[in-house]
């Protein structure tokens, strides 16, 4: 008799999802799926609205990475206005993008993922969360919370509010920076840098502790996609697309973001509201690729900050003969390298006199009927594409979200973990949590406003072919 195991909701991720695991009559895993069961509809209801409002509207997609949507939207707006924004505006936008990385990466590691590693996959789920972490290692948890605060503080200083600032606009930014704000933010740098390094040190010990588990955490070859700077450096705000295969070969490079649709397509499945983007030249399924920290640190030639570059070399050595680091568990490592990079780079930007310029906004009307913006959101490359009429009213909107681009890879990860750990008869809390942790490697941002802290109930049902519940676990 075949069975289906359902993990719903998946906890400690941003958004709502469930996992189903389908077993055959001998209890072997035949399929495993990651379902995103929430529907938003932004692309449709933005039609008929104004191009200038899109920063404000699309940032409401997410409470964690609103700034990424804001920046990407502003860039699509720049494209429609056909303006080159002032240098100061670009640098200020770069700083807020780094701030978004800092707060989101700190959240992912300290608040959401580290409880599994420091308290153990099999520890009591009631305390396997940030509160349990505070109880176990107060200083470590406090540092993580403060590092996230630093990221949020930059956003607030620039945009007047931490969440959903409308500060970046088509043509530039609204408010300039000043030296008092700069000095205030520079004061945070030593602590932030130290915390990022402590996190990396902690992760190294986690790698040792979980050496047996790590090889099963979404370890498969896939392509990697992201933006890189013109000189091949790690990029976060601009640049062109690079595609690398699982063996470390660059198979496409310097792709203008305006050509993204020539290279990437989107498929849909009836069982999930999240679309399945794929690399067109290889077709759906075979065209599976990963974005986000693991992809970015894999594809770049170097990182232009000294401490992060040192860590990148250690990361690269993990690839060995494979040519690329293919294990999804090392998303955590790549994320922390980026966290350190973001702090170092923020310091460099803060010390740049151009940040204090007065020219921050180019004013223009509609000069193009289509605009595309792309930037590296914490979770991967984010695209906004707007088609407008001559008055700036939106006719068509396409948003390609980072998490969606990891959809095929997340499903593959769930599948791999299910095969490794489930034998049909024993379904323990620890096993289910390992499968969730596989998803958490990707730090998915599904809607992104909900923030479960491990307090949500996990409901697992084993269902036979007739739909009868044969066994049930509720935590």
């Amino acid at each position: 008799m075949s069975k289906t195991i359902t993990i719903s909701p998946v906890t400690r991720i941003e958004g709502h999802a469930k996992i189903t695991i389908h077993l055959d009559d001998r209890g072997n895993v035949i399929d495993a799926r990651f379902h995103v069961n929430e529907f938003r509809g932004f692309e449709k209801f933005c039609e008929g609205r104004l191009m200038w409002e899109m920063g404000g509207i699309t940032s409401r997609i997410c409470g964690i990475c609103p700034t990424s949507h804001l920046i990407t939207s502003a860039k699509a707006g720049d494209d429609i206005l056909a303006v080159a924004i002032p240098e100061t505006a670009e640098k200020l936008r770069r700083l807020i993008t780094l701030a978004q990385w800092i707060q989101s990466h700190a959240l992912s590691f300290f608040h959401l993922s580290s409880p599994d590693f420091l308290l153990g996959f099999d520890s009591d789920p009631a305390t396997r969360n940030i509160f349990g972490l505070v109880a176990k290692d107060k200083d470590f948890a406090r540092r993580g919370i403060r590092l996230r605060k630093f990221g949020q503080e930059i956003i607030e200083v620039l945009g007047s509010r931490r969440i959903h600032t409308p500060w970046a606009v088509a043509g530039g930014v609204r408010e300039p920076f000043d030296s008092a704000k700069r000095d205030h933010l520079l004061g945070w740098i030593p602590e932030a840098k130290e915390t990022a390094q402590i996190a990396l040190k902690t992760l190294r010990s986690i790698h040792e502790k979980f050496a047996a588990d790590i090889p099963n955490f979404g370890n498969f070859r896939s392509m990697f996609v992201g933006l890189v700077a013109p000189d091949g450096a790690l990029e976060y705000y601009d640049g062109a697309l690079r595609v690398m295969d699982g063996s470390g070969n660059i198979i496409a490079d310097k792709i203008d973001i305006h050509k993204y649709a020539d290279y990437f397509g989107e498929a849909s499945e009836s069982w999930s509201y999240l679309k399945f983007p794929y690399y067109k030249p290889l077709g759906y399924q075979k065209g599976m690729y990963r974005v986000g920290p693991l992809a970015r640190v894999n594809i770049c030639d170097y990182i232009d900050t000294p401490l992060a570059e040192q860590e990148r070399r250690v990361f690269k050595a993990l690839a060995g003969d494979a040519g690329a680091v293919n294990n999804s568990f090392y998303y955590h490592f790549a994320r922390l390298i980026e966290l350190l990079f973001a702090v170092e780079k923020a310091e460099m930007l803060l010390n740049d006199p151009a940040m204090l310029g007065a020219d921050i906004r180019a004013r223009a009307m509609i000069n193009r009927r289509m605009g595309i913006g792309a930037s590296e959101a914490p979770r991967g490359t984010l695209f906004h594409k707007y088609e407008v009429d001559e008055n700036g009213v939106l006719q068509k909107v396409n948003l390609i979200i980072a998490t969606a681009q990891n959809n095929l890879a997340m499903n593959r990860t769930v599948h791999q973990l299910a095969i490794q750990y489930i034998d049909g008869n024993k379904i323990t809390e620890g096993i289910l949590n390992r499968i969730e942790a596989g998803i958490r490697c990707f730090d998915p941002c599904l809607s992104c406003s909900t923030h479960a802290m491990g307090q949500m109930p996990l409901h697992v049902q084993v269902i036979d072919v007739e739909g009868k519940v044969v066994s049930e676990r509720i935590r």
């Binding site: 200038w52 409002e53 920063g55 409308p166 606009v169 004013r363 009429d389 008055n391």
Partner: protein, 244 residues
């Protein structure tokens, strides 16, 4: 013109017989909430927010268009009035498409302010989500009928102050909406002088400047009293609205 004596909220006040109850109350420091009223424009009683109770009548009267009578006893702030005012804002919220969080005038909106002041925390009637049009054909300005509350300030300022009468109303009841000229795109209007007065007097984000982002636009209505004073008295001075 005669001077009359009446009672507002238990206080003896006096006013001219050609003034409105709203004007008399304001002169005596009694605050009555308004939306369609704007100093410098005629009053039409469109929003009903300034409703008051008059002793001896079961009806409620809009203070902006009701004239005083000798010995009149008026109440401007009763439980019944507070309830109706909140209901008016609630109905306005439900029959338009008002998404404050992504609106150009978020934080500077008179409708939003009235919602706060009347204590509106929830909309208890179903939202109508009407299909309204957005007209961005004008070179500088946008008319977004989703956010229009039909206060007709734009109609009045265009007719009474600018003299162009580009705006007017079309349709009845729930189908009523603001149109330009002969119901044509604003950008094709021949009467519009692009003066922008309608943009500034609009209490919500219905008429806005092009290129503005969320929360970016702040309406300033002071210009109106300046222009009206200059025109009527030939005095080019800023008039404090608390004077007179």
């Amino acid at each position: 013109m005669a001077i009359l004596t009446l009672t507002i909220n238990g206080e003896q006040v006096s006013g001219k017989d050609d003034e409105s109850l709203l004007s008399i109350a304001q002169q005596h420091g009694i605050k009555i909430p308004t939306l369609c009223h704007l100093e410098g424009l005629s009053d039409v009683g469109a929003c009903r927010l300034c409703l008051v109770e008059v002793e001896g009548s079961p009806k409620l009267f809009p203070a902006c268009t009701t004239k005083p009578k000798e010995g009149m006893v008026v109440s401007t702030d009763t439980e019944r009035l507070r309830k109706y005012r909140r209901l008016i804002i609630e109905f306005l919220a439900s029959e338009g498409n008002h998404q404050c969080s992504v609106c150009v005038v978020n934080g500077h909106c008179e409708l939003q302010n009235q919602a706060y002041e009347t204590g509106l925390t929830h909309v208890t009637v179903p939202y109508l989500y009407p299909k309204k049009t957005l007209d961005a054909s004008h070179e500088h300005f946008i008319m977004d009928r989703n956010r229009c509350i039909l206060c007709t300030r734009c109609v009045r300022v265009c007719h009474e102050v600018e003299g162009a009468h580009t705006w007017d109303l079309s349709g009845r009841g729930i189908a009523c909406e603001i149109i330009s000229d002969l119901n044509q795109p604003w950008g094709t209007s021949e009467s519009c002088t692009s003066c922008g007065k309608c943009v500034l007097v609009c209490p919500t984000g219905a008429i806005i400047e092009k290129g503005e982002g969320v929360s970016e636009m702040e309406k300033k209505t002071d210009f109106l009293r300046y222009i009206v004073t200059a025109r009527q008295k030939r005095e080019w001075i800023n008039v404090d609205s608390d004077e007179e």
